[in-house]
């Protein structure tokens, strides 16, 4: 399984490197230069990048597998379906863990602010948990309907997740008279341990479902 994970990890590494090396420094310019280190709006925007790194990598990987007809090749090898599915789900989990730890760790290093770090951690964990469930659902959909069919339906929804701060700030928050702080308070008010445990349970169940759906797939 480790070898499969290594094979599938290319897109995750590329997306994570692009985020950590370029997008994160750009987004956190104020924090790095110290001009406006405590502004919580950045935490809000950073959530988008969890979706971008995790779901974007997953999508790029599956697009590549689809184009290369990789599943056709893998199925001829002495591999168990559950090993392939587990490798894919494990990468999603690792990507979420990486980005949550990276975001909270970087904020801690840049601001030395415990409260801001804690808010970032809680917010990232909630978004990361949501991301796990979405990734699990995406795999279940891909194994049930095939990438090309599933991607036709879902691509628009994916974009909405990446652009959620814009949609929230421009349409939803004014409608409900909420500020960024209100949203952050509500999201971080969740118990992140409970949220992530529930998300992991659903993620695990979706992994079992993905294995079953693939087994029943008809060529």
């Amino acid at each position: 399984m480790w070898y499969l994970m290594k094979k599938f990890s290319l897109m995750y590494v590329l997306y994570a490197a692009l985020y950590a090396g370029l997008l994160f420094p750009l987004l956190n310019y104020d924090r790095i230069t110290g001009s406006n280190p405590q502004d919580p709006i950045y935490i809000f925007y950073q959530g988008s990048f969890i979706f971008w790194v995790v779901l974007g990598s997953l999508w790029a990987l599956e697009q590549m597998e689809h184009k290369a007809r990789g599943y056709g090749f893998l199925r001829t090898l002495p591999l168990r379906i559950q090993d392939i599915v587990r490798a894919k789900f494990s990468l999603v989990l690792l990507a979420v863990l990486f980005i949550v730890v990276f975001q909270a760790g970087s904020i801690r290093l840049l601001t030395k602010d415990r409260d801001l770090t804690s808010t970032t951690w809680n917010f990232s964990m909630v978004i990361g948990s949501l991301c796990l469930i979405l990734a699990g659902l995406a795999y279940a959909g891909i194994f049930r309907f095939g990438f090309s069919r599933f991607s036709k339906w879902i691509f628009g929804a994916w974009l909405l997740f990446f652009l959620y701060p814009v949609i929230l700030r421009e349409f939803l928050m004014p409608a409900f008279r909420l500020s960024v702080d209100d949203v952050l308070d509500r999201v971080t008010g969740f118990n992140w341990i409970l949220v992530s445990t529930a998300a992991l349970t659903i993620f695990w169940a979706l992994m079992q479902l993905a294995v079953r759906l693939w087994r029943e797939e008809r060529i």
């Binding site: 001829t76 002495p78 168990r80 060529i219």
Partner: protein, 290 residues
């Protein structure tokens, strides 16, 4: 005789096709050819043997094992070349060899490199740039590099030009005659099967109407050219695909040893001429009789 593959009451339903309750045994140590027209069910049968699709009814046993618990072991001990070659085409043959080596317990990297060399495949070139024939050869190199007990080839020469097709068949012939592998090869190109197969299985419309050794088939099936009113009613009734022309008639029999004695007089006075048939003639007779 030991059998390496056993299919019993195997059924698979598709909206426009049904693989209909087939039973088949593939003998160990021989080359078995699966012949049939396009859409006869050859690929479906092979996919069921390889557990790439699931049967609706019946069972598949490969190397004495069932796919339920032993899918991985069966694939580890079987070399498979599909109708289409799937690879990570941005990668090279060397990378592909390294990648698959992690999954086959008996992978032999030296043999793989030797086979690439023998098949004239550039190991560092992207597979994307390989021709179809080269991809078939790469599949063959992978299939042979983990010392499989059974090699399954699904239409390996389909879509290849005659020169490359001949080359692939000759390679396969060499490899199987020297190493004595068990091979199951499907094709609608009967010439390929005639060259290498010891046993022949005919598939027509999702059924197996005929299975026999190639020698038995070629000795039982003959073409008769005969002048009008020179054969007995019994012999005439044993003929298929009878065609009448200006100077006589032609027909094919599948019971030549049985009717041989009754033909002696006609043969000696030149009223009947006997010719061997090819596997394609038998296929046509089976398709028309189906």
């Amino acid at each position: 005789m030991e059998h390496i593959v056993r299919l019993s009451h195997l059924t698979k339903n598709y909206p426009e096709f049904r693989l209909d309750d087939i039973d088949l045994e593939i003998p160990r140590g021989y080359v078995t050819g699966l012949i049939g027209p396009n859409g006869a069910g050859k690929t479906t049968t092979i996919k069921l043997i390889m557990n790439l699709i699931r049967p609706d009814e019946g069972s598949v046993e490969v190397l004495g094992l069932g796919h339920g618990r032993h899918n991985r072991e069966i694939k580890d001990r079987t070399g498979y070349i599909g109708e289409e070659q799937y690879f990570y085409e941005q990668r090279s043959a060397t990378w592909t060899g390294r990648f698959v080596s992690h999954f086959f317990t008996a992978w032999d990297q030296d043999r793989f490199m030797q086979l690439l060399d023998r098949f004239g495949l550039p190991p560092k070139q992207r597979i994307k740039k390989y021709s179809k024939g080269m991809k078939v050869k790469l599949s063959l190199a992978i299939a042979l590099s983990h010392h499989p007990e059974l090699i399954i080839l699904d239409e390996p020469t389909s879509g290849l030009d005659p020169v490359i097709r001949r080359e692939v068949i000759e390679m396969l012939q060499d490899l199987t005659s020297v190493e004595g592998n068990t091979v199951l090869i499907s094709s609608h190109i009967t010439d390929d099967i005639e060259r290498i197969a010891d046993y022949v299985v005919y598939m027509v419309q999702g059924r197996i109407p005929l299975t026999a050794s190639k020698d038995e088939l070629l000795s039982n099936w003959k073409r008769l050219h005969f002048k009008p009113d020179t054969l007995t009613a019994d012999i005439i009734s044993s003929l298929e695909l009878v065609e009448t022309q200006m100077f006589g008639s032609t027909g094919i029999t599948r019971r030549f040893p049985e009717i041989k004695d009754g033909l002696e007089t006609s043969l000696s006075n030149g009223n009947v001429r006997i010719e061997p048939v090819g596997l394609d003639d038998i296929l046509i007779a089976l398709v028309k009789g189906a």
